[in-house]
């Protein structure tokens, strides 16, 4: 694995809990919450936009992001296997946008690099970049899920 120092082991119980809740990513432990995958200041800035109807915009944005990110990462993986660079770039572009909006900076940065990928790049380098994307995306999703749970009490 390329990034052993960053890797976390997610236990089966967390996996099962996440699956029961219908989320594509496992719930994070406290140590994972502390990672720098998500810039919480960016998310906290949305507090001032909350409506008075009892809904939670931040939870809503997290839900939208988690659904979207899982699909985009999958699209990027499939497009790289099929060497469909236009599709890969489009999915990376979209994921970059939504990640940037929520302060998921590492994912946004990797997506920016993926936007420049083309047929001249070595397949190994592209695969490594996608592997990094999947890792950072999982980290960010864990943090976001933890925040979501905290907000819902």
């Amino acid at each position: 694995m390329m990034f052993p120092e960053k890797m976390i082991v997610l236990d089966q119980a967390n996996h099962d809990e996440a699956a029961d809740n219908g989320h594509p990513f496992p719930v994070a432990s406290a140590s994972v919450i502390a990672n720098d995958a998500v810039d919480m200041e960016v998310l906290n800035a949305f507090e001032e936009l909350q409506r008075d109807d009892g809904s939670d915009l931040i939870v809503e944005l997290i839900d939208l992001y988690l659904l979207d990110a899982a699909e985009r990462v999958s699209q990027i993986r499939e497009a790289s296997i099929a060497t469909e660079w236009v599709l890969l770039k489009r999915a990376a572009h979209n994921l970059k946008g939504s990640s940037g909006n929520l302060g998921v900076r590492q994912v946004a940065e990797i997506c920016q690099k993926l936007e420049w990928v083309d047929r001249h790049d070595s397949p190994t380098a592209v695969a490594a970049l996608i592997q990094l994307l999947e890792y950072e995306s999982a980290m960010a999703s864990s943090s976001l899920l933890a925040l979501r749970q905290r907000r819902l009490g």
């Binding site: 949305f46 936009l49 915009l57 809503e60 944005l61 939208l64 992001y65 659904l67 979207d68 489009r90 572009h93 979209n94 970059k96 946008g97 939504s98 940037g100 909006n101 929520l102």
Partner: protein, 212 residues
């Protein structure tokens, strides 16, 4: 003021919608260019549109071109959202008919003031359009009073478009914004009114003599 958002990314769309709602705008959201085009074809379509350049199907640039080709008294103010800071994409956007652009990720205050500029331009265009409409109506009245009018040499009635003879006062009132107040000119006073008054006075004086 109503604003259309065309953005395929759900997170960006929700954030943009929330900002605009918070600032007091009425927002319509669409997830692609086709849906946005449909909304803009409806009567009372939004007057300002924020379009993401990169969308599947009809993209922001093509949508912009279509909106500019479709006739409108007050054309929508269009802000393009671009992820690319390159000059070429911005030039392409403006050439396609956009009024302004914002580069993602945008600053919320920058978004707010750019939307305000758009709202000001739309207000000016709307006022201008209303004035033009008023002028066209006035001009139409003026045109209706031009040309040859058949008028009776004796009673001075005018033959109108329905081939009826109409008093000159009512004809002019119907075909312009002029209204008449009635008075007597000095010449008519001397030639018509004064003799009539004189005659009346004589008549009254005779009646008085007769009764005495």
């Amino acid at each position: 003021m109503r604003i259309l958002i065309a953005e395929d990314d759900a997170v960006s769309r929700r954030i943009l919608e929330t900002f605009l709602w918070k600032w007091g705008y009425e927002v319509t959201t669409t997830v692609n260019g086709e849906a946005a085009w449909d909304v803009m074809q409806r009567p009372n379509a939004p007057s300002l549109a924020i379009l993401d350049i990169m969308m599947p199907g009809i993209d922001g640039l093509e949508l912009c071109r279509r909106l500019r080709r479709s006739p409108s008294n007050v054309p929508p103010y269009i802000i393009l959202l671009t992820a690319n800071q390159g000059v070429r994409e911005i030039v392409k956007g403006i050439e396609a008919g956009a009024d302004d652009y914002l580069t993602k990720p945008y600053d919320r205050d920058e978004l707010r003031v750019r939307v305000q500029v758009g709202a000001r331009i739309i207000e000016l265009q709307t006022k201008l359009s209303e004035r033009v409409e008023q002028l066209e109506v006035a001009l139409n009245h003026v045109k209706q009073l031009e040309g040859i009018l058949p008028i009776c040499s004796y009673c001075k009635k005018i033959r109108n478009d329905s081939n009826n003879w109409q008093h000159v006062e009512s004809y002019v009132s119907d075909h312009s914004q002029a209204e008449f107040s009635h008075g007597i000119c000095p010449s008519c006073y001397e030639s018509t009114v004064k003799p009539q008054l004189e005659s009346l006075r004589i008549s009254e004086s005779s009646e008085s003599d007769f009764s005495n």
